[in-house]
């Protein structure tokens, strides 16, 4: 199986060179493609708390992104990724990241199929980027998004400034992937990821469609790009409920709660600063139990606000230093983890990042970043390096170090990680 997938990827690579990213199928039809084949290696220097957990992760992967463009305002996209986990079968994945048709006019757009959205404006912890489910099995701190079956309608009213009204309909709910016992990010609760065992707060304990709407427009004489939004659906991170209430050792099922989310995002340039922010009010639709077993009806505002400043030609001509500062907060900050529902690891943090860009042909850059929990003193640091080599290869190296002693992050104290990623792009 693994050999045949590798052969398939190599064949795709050969064709890629022939087609050179664009294939004219007819006068009115064009096939654009891009893709990559790569390998990731993670090494965890700290001893794992259980012998089942892996000390390293080796993961080859391939991605092919095809877009079929027609002369008419219509295109179809198919973007998929394959990953193989050499020492963890849960990491074997075939993901369709995009599979949709797109119809677009100057005043109206319709896009239907599996889609991945982004409402993110900040660099560290996004509060507003919640439309897609996330794959926590990949990386708890940088989870990948999973595509959602959805229909997005866009209306662009004629006006002097660009305004966009969007309506989202997501007929199927996609459950989260909670890391298994071999994964370093395991919650250690013997959680059943089988969809048949998942529970939903809606009638019949079955999932129901989700909806969202957003309105974008510039504010303050086009100084800020703003988005206002509303969402009615499920909290993406589930609560956990015993499969057998009489014997919790049997394991836990996912329990998805109905919520309303509303809020706004903004980004803009003010003098020499790029300012950005997201604020989201989450209101549970019904009562839930917190981790102490108390009945609560959570309602909280989470926010991330920050700015970015770049010093051009800082030390050397044509090389820049970028600084990012962000405040991550939550109106429930200060409550202990078991008073809350769900996993909310960043509630009172400062994020700082320093990016050195060499602006050379290979786009070499070095990033030093860190989170500080200003209430508890916990810290997470990361150092990242990336560069393009020989035009078609990229290398990414990173090291992440955790100094965490308080819940809920303390259980992941052993997930310090060295990562090497090599990719061939075509």
């Amino acid at each position: 199986m693994k050999t045949s997938i590798c052969l398939l990827l190599i064949s795709a690579l050969q064709y890629a060179n022939v087609f050179a990213q664009n294939l004219q199928l007819s006068e009115s039809t064009n096939l654009c493609f891009r893709g990559k084949i790569g390998f990731e290696h993670w090494h965890f220097p700290r001893k794992a708390p259980t012998s089942a957990m892996n000390n390293y992760l080796a993961r080859p992967s391939g991605q092919l992104d095809l877009t079929l463009q027609f002369k008419a305002p219509f295109e179809v996209r198919c973007n998929q990724r394959i990953e193989l986990g050499f020492n963890n079968a849960n990491q074997n994945k075939w993901q369709v990241e995009d599979l949709y048709f797109d119809y677009f006019q100057s005043w109206f757009e319709a896009r239907g199929g599996y889609q991945t959205f982004s409402w993110k404006t900040v660099e560290s912890v996004s509060q507003a980027d919640f439309l897609n489910q996330i794959d926590l099995e990949y990386d708890l701190f940088k989870p990948r998004k999973l595509s959602e079956l959805s229909l997005r309608l866009r209306f662009i009213p004629a006006s002097d400034v660009e305004q966009v009204i969007e309506i989202y309909y997501m007929p199927r709910f996609r459950p989260a992937r909670i890391p298994g016992n071999k994964n370093r990010f395991s919650f250690g609760l013997n959680i059943d990821n089988n969809e048949a065992s998942h529970l939903y707060q809606s009638p019949g304990k079955q999932w129901r469609p989700q909806i969202a709407a957003s309105y974008q427009r510039p504010l303050f004489e086009q100084l800020l790009d703003a988005r206002f939004f509303y969402f009615n659906g499920y909290n993406k991170f589930p609560g956990f409920t015993p499969l057998n209430p009489n014997n919790p050792l049997n394991g836990f099922a996912h329990y998805y709660h109905l919520i309303h989310k509303s809020g706004f995002t903004f980004q803009g340039e003010m003098n020499a600063l790029l300012v950005k922010g997201e604020a989201v009010l989450t209101a549970y639709q019904k009562n839930v139990s917190n981790q102490r077993g108390q009945t609560i009806k959570p309602r909280y505002m989470a926010y991330t606000l920050g700015f970015e400043h770049t010093y051009y030609n800082a030390f050397v001509d044509n090389q820049d230093v970028g600084l990012i500062f962000e405040l991550i907060g939550d109106t429930d900050a200060g409550k202990s983890a078991d008073e809350l529902e769900g996993f909310r690891p960043f509630q009172s943090h400062l994020f700082g990042g320093l990016r050195y860009a060499f602006n050379n042909i290979g786009d070499r850059s070095v990033l030093l970043g860190g989170f500080l929990n200003y209430r508890e003193g916990d810290m997470i640091f990361s150092l990242e390096y990336s560069e393009r080599l020989a035009e078609t290869f990229t290398i990414y190296l990173s090291y992440r170090d955790l100094f965490v002693n308080t819940p809920p992050l303390d259980q992941f104290f052993h997930t310090d990680r060295f990562m090497l990623e090599l990719q061939y792009h075509f």
């Binding site: 064009n30 463009q69 020499a272 950005k276 030609n313 042909i361 075509f426």
Partner: protein, 251 residues
């Protein structure tokens, strides 16, 4: 239109550096809208060459408040990355960058005038449409350059964050097209030399140089821009130059 512009250039006798620059700018306008493929050759001091391909779309607006989209076609890891610029002759431009890997449109600072464009010897301020009021001009005289009699004009940037103290520019006396420019850095050292060639006049009367060679005289690196498949007045719509359309590969 073509004849009107030619007549205007021939009949007008510039008396100041600003007059020359004004006439030169007129040769660049009137294109209505434009599509062009750009190939960028980055040549280092050892003569190793790297090639980049871009697609540019521009729509002309009153008062030089043009809109443009640049889409990067290679290297393959950045294919689909697109830059939207709303020019503002009276202040900073507005710019947004679409990052396909993140599916995110990010507002970026347009103050980076002196930064290298795609790792080349061209700075952002060299390739943006600099309007007349952004400079102070001094007509230094006339000089022969490659068998052409040229006006020599010294331009001093008035905008903030320029990497240059002054730019000495050779304008062809016959038609006011720029033939050469020499850039002096903020430390008063000669930094770069730009040579423009393959000038062509299009149906709209607009002139464009289809070859631009920038040599860094300090590092001896060279960047060469070649423009092909240039089309003007093709019916681009102003409302297509928006953040939504950055996400689509340009046909």
């Amino acid at each position: 239109m073509f004849f009107i512009i030619c007549a205007f250039i021939v009949l007008t006798n510039p008396e100041t550096g600003r007059d020359v620059a004004g006439l030169a700018q007129k040769t660049q306008r009137g294109f209505v809208d434009e599509s062009v493929m750009t190939t960028m050759y980055l040549i280092n001091a050892r003569q190793d060459t790297v090639v980049r391909n871009l697609k540019n779309l521009t729509i002309e607006r009153a008062n030089s408040e043009d809109y443009s989209i640049i889409q990067f076609l290679n290297p393959p890891d950045v294919r689909g990355t697109s830059l939207l610029t709303y020019q503002n002759p009276r202040g900073d431009d507005q710019q947004w960058l679409y990052l396909p890997e993140l599916r995110r449109v990010k507002k970026i600072s347009s103050r980076n005038k002196s930064g290298a464009f795609m790792g080349s010897e061209f700075a952002y301020e060299d390739i943006s449409n600099n309007t007349l009021d952004r400079f102070e001009y001094h007509l230094l005289g006339e000089e022969m350059y490659e068998n052409r009699l040229c006006y020599i004009v010294e331009r001093k940037p008035l905008y903030e964050n320029s990497g240059y103290l002054k730019i000495k520019t050779w304008y062809d006396k016959k038609n006011c097209l720029i033939r050469r420019a020499e850039y002096t850095d903020r430390k008063n050292s000669l930094l770069k030399a730009l040579t423009l060639s393959d000038w062509q006049q299009y149906e709209t009367g607009t002139w464009r140089a289809n070859s631009m060679r920038m040599e860094n005289l300090q590092t001896h690196k060279i960047s060469l821009l070649r423009f092909t498949n240039r089309l003007m007045k093709i019916g681009l719509q102003e409302n297509s130059f928006n953040k939504r359309n950055l996400q689509r590969l340009l046909n």
